[in-house]
Symmetry: D3
């Protein structure tokens, strides 16, 4: 199967890292194409950045549809643009946050999220509620590390993430950890060994989840929430994104 993994920010080095993480867990018959939009923020940290990442994200999804991919992964832990992508695509679409927390709920009675910045905590708490995980998720903790600093040499990011994991296990009673940023994809194995509990990376989780959906032949329901966009004109620079009659 052919999967499209879209990093919704425009930082190509992160796209590469995400692509590598995706390929490292993909099945033998799975081909991964990792892309990022040409337009939008270099990292997504808060609601404002999200807005300007989604048009480009949807453009990549539209291209993937035309190319006939079998499934899409949105590789930002805010699950940016997920609903619109589902309305647009015929192939199934998953986000990395939702994939990670659903899998976490299958291997632990409870879990905590450890993310980058405190400003992302309320948005992630909102996702937990939306996904029905508000009781399973013990806490959303922020290591106060900027997304792009995760890649910086000499960064103390790793230590700060470890400190939050420790606190989640000890003070919040978490039984597993979900890493709350696509940029942490390479840390899961090491952290899992260090702490002796499941540590789940969203990119890897999403690849396996979309492989599962594709393997079952499941596609997004087109009845209700994710019905195809109604054909209509879009004004100005977005005109070319206007839904066409099918």
């Amino acid at each position: 199967m052919h999967l499209l993994v879209i990093n919704p920010n425009t930082t190509a080095s992160m796209t590469d890292k995400i692509g590598a993480a995706a390929r490292s867990v993909a099945g033998p018959d799975t081909e991964i194409t990792s892309v990022n939009p040409a337009h939008g923020p270099v990292s997504i940290e808060g609601y404002y950045d999200e807005v300007f990442s989604v048009p480009g994200l949807l453009e990549e999804i539209a291209k993937g549809e035309t190319a006939g991919v079998d499934g899409h992964v949105i590789a930002c832990f805010d699950d940016t643009g997920l609903d619109a992508a589902r309305a647009l695509a015929n192939a199934p679409v998953v986000g990395i946050c939702e994939s990670a927390v659903h899998l976490a709920s299958l291997v632990a009675g409870s879990f905590s999220l450890v993310t980058t910045l405190g400003r992302s905590v309320p948005a992630l708490e909102g996702l937990m509620l939306r996904y029905g995980m508000e009781r399973r998720c013990r806490s959303v903790r922020a290591a106060e590390v900027a997304v792009l600093d995760l890649e910086a040499p000499g960064s103390t990011a790793r230590d700060r993430i470890k400190a939050e994991i420790w606190a989640a296990l000890r003070e919040d009673g978490a039984e597993a950890i979900v890493l709350g940023c696509a940029g942490m994809a390479d840390l899961a194995a090491e952290l899992s060994e260090t702490f002796g509990v499941p540590v789940i990376d969203g990119v890897a989780a999403a690849v396996k989840m979309i492989e599962a959906l594709v393997g079952l032949g499941l596609k997004t329901s087109k009845v209700g929430a994710y019905a195809a966009p109604l054909p209509k004109p879009y004004a100005g620079t977005f005109a070319r994104h206007a839904p066409k009659a099918s």
Copy 2:
């Protein structure tokens, strides 16, 4: 005070109608400017349309901030782009859905929403949960009327809306009705008289709510969820929207 009322779709006739509805309830010292984005969908019916309405919406909000408006109203019942707008603006921002349901909860033990299309129902149910109104809201009903048909001469839209209100009162036990589309702004008074219960239009509700916030000197908290966007580059056509260091 000077309020900016933004219709996030690009249909100017609806902007005018919304502006008139806003002005009809505004206080004597309130000046209303109603605008719509230059770019984006002519109506917002589902998640996909939402995405392409928000960049233009935020552009209008940014212009309003520069012009020194005292508050912003987002006049689409999906409360499109509300979180990003709050992160961007210094002046307070309200959506018409949230304004209407909060006021509804002050004048009735329960209420129902009556909106346009069935595809919008799941999104509105999601808003009810987010706003803590999932118990107060008895039902979200769709009249299956396209947004722009609300304005069409000879439309049966009004009758279909009445039928759903009747069902909400009788079958669902609603004690009040919230009209779930900015395009229904002119119907509230008549429907309230017909049915003998409060019928609340979101545009009017939002104007009074933002007047209340401005009157109290309240602005959005910049701690946590709505912290100002971090300065960073945006690639491509969105470069001019990149947050600047303040």
Copy 3:
């Protein structure tokens, strides 16, 4: 418009303070009458005091109705007698707790309440649940200050309130503060400046909220929960309060 602001306890100096707070935010066309019952407790601290404040409160509301006021504010943070007042009145009625938390939810992702005594915490937690604010409200904290001590010269009340606000912001992740007692009405502006987050006083919030309702012509739904009391005899000293056939 003419608004009645009822302090449900019998301490006239607090009534004056509440009236002043109300007038300081009221619109230019709003006339505020502030009253308190002739009968009942000098302060309301717990469920027992509430009971004996409500008959007098309703008497004031009945007088206000006869006088033709446009709206009523119940100025006790327990929203004492609110349901009965809505059943009685034709004009709309709001409580100061509900007004404050609804507005708080429009300017912050989360908030905490800071009230007077620990014994009030469970009642306020109950209100949060009733208003659908149990997820938005991060904590209800008590400064352990008696209501009437808020007015005492040399009181350390202010410092204890500040300590709890600090803890709410720092430990509980609150993004805004709601002051949980009508007697704190004069502190909001100063505290907001000190802490750099919205600090909301219920009296001011309620005045603007009832102005919004009156401005929209909204009245309490008389279908269901707030139907007018059925005419029937009341025995003994309460006979004169018996509902009459209309």
Copy 4:
């Protein structure tokens, strides 16, 4: 043990009926005294009536405390004044609604309430939420029978109650029925036989529940919500109800 069963309305014939229902299930060593206030409404149908029943109710509870009763039952299905009574009394206090629903949850996976008037439905739904029974309670149905009509000869009340029970079992999936009015106390046994499911009367349930609490030596916690009222003056006609220093 000596139990006080208080009918909070002032209709003596209903007090007698309630007293008889209580005695019919009481243990051999249980003495039941049934009383009603001297002041207040002849029946309690809605929030307004509740207000004027509670001062008299508390007066009866205070008398019971002085007389040394071992426990109190509040025999109105709205559990009128329950919190204040718990703050006042040293002996434990139960309401008939809470007693009935807690017991119902021990003998059935779900239940429905069948009450008198539609205007009581929202209040009872509120109690379900407060008691944590919002998921167990499938529906609150109203037979649209006035409280005092339950005693009227030739009334069709019984048939209308049966119709609602039938609908609750068939349409709502209820596995047991709770009768939502103290005036239905004499119907439970017959209805249970007719429908072949548990039909629970609140008065009987409350007597057994308070016998359980008294038998275990349990009294209301005086820490937190139900702390004893603080001594303070009450003005006017309620002065004699003012809490005294103990």
Copy 5:
């Protein structure tokens, strides 16, 4: 009445202790038979132990049914096998956890559970949700004491339990304590005196609760969740447990 109290583990000394606790609160007309299964774990600490305790538990309940007992108590704080027991029995069945928390909610605004081992905490949190007590229950705390150590001479178990009670009252705001293990049945009175709040033992609570149900003639509803097992063959060693046609 004749009640069967089943200790689902196979430690006879604990059965005796439970029986004594049950008899110490039983009414004068209540005969208590306490038993334990012949087969299964010596203590129940986690989900695995539960599985092997339930067949023997159900065997005891079946014997009790044949003997014509009036009610059953399952005396393990996990309420092990409760649903199956209700499906099997004609007489009513209660668990000690559910009995304790329902009674706790009648004498306090909130409570905490103090149990033996941390591994039991998630299961008890699950029960709180199931019983609708997730808001009333402030915390589930573990004293990290093995069940059988509660009976060991020289154990520090009691001190560790007291430390958790203290923390629940002080840090979690609990207003009452529920002891989360049948083996703590003899501690309730002493701890209640020490801490000045209600401390509730599940065995005692369950005896009074089942006395209440039996006193009211209430039996488990056989409609829906607890319908009698359908007659069918069981293979192998469980063949004799196969439900017979009635």
Copy 6:
């Protein structure tokens, strides 16, 4: 990888059918062993049957662990014995209900369950709550078909299932369907085509879900809820199941 699929009932023909369903979706490198216990009920329809299926189920899981399987699937829609299996096994374990509903939530805004008998509805509603799916799941509907009748020639089972699917889509607003019985595994593809929405079979879903977990190297957390059973004696016929010290 080697997966063990355990049908917890003792009907070998159903085990074969489940095994075939599992193999039909398994990856090329996945080996499926399907087994059923030697002891226990021939079908699982309600809480009582569940009890006598779990010891045999756990015995099969223990054998699988010894044989070194990579993951376990419990193929009964009640997710019978899931918690105990997770405590026992080192390899990950999933149930077919949880697998199906988690996947359903990724391809539809809402779904309904269609199961066999009405008596299973409350148990499945309980699972929805436990899995956080109580808002996504619109309804649990029963076709009133006995499990083993699904395999009977000439059965009307299929028509009755279709009628309930139709009702779920039309009346309850479901956007996808989850088939609530392992015995329906062969119907999903056909029904999906008939109704034009995703129809999900739990056995297939579970195979892909456990493949995902195994592919990620995720095992059940042994901290907290699913800690390994403590070593202790088991009395009587269950002695050989007693946990050993590791």
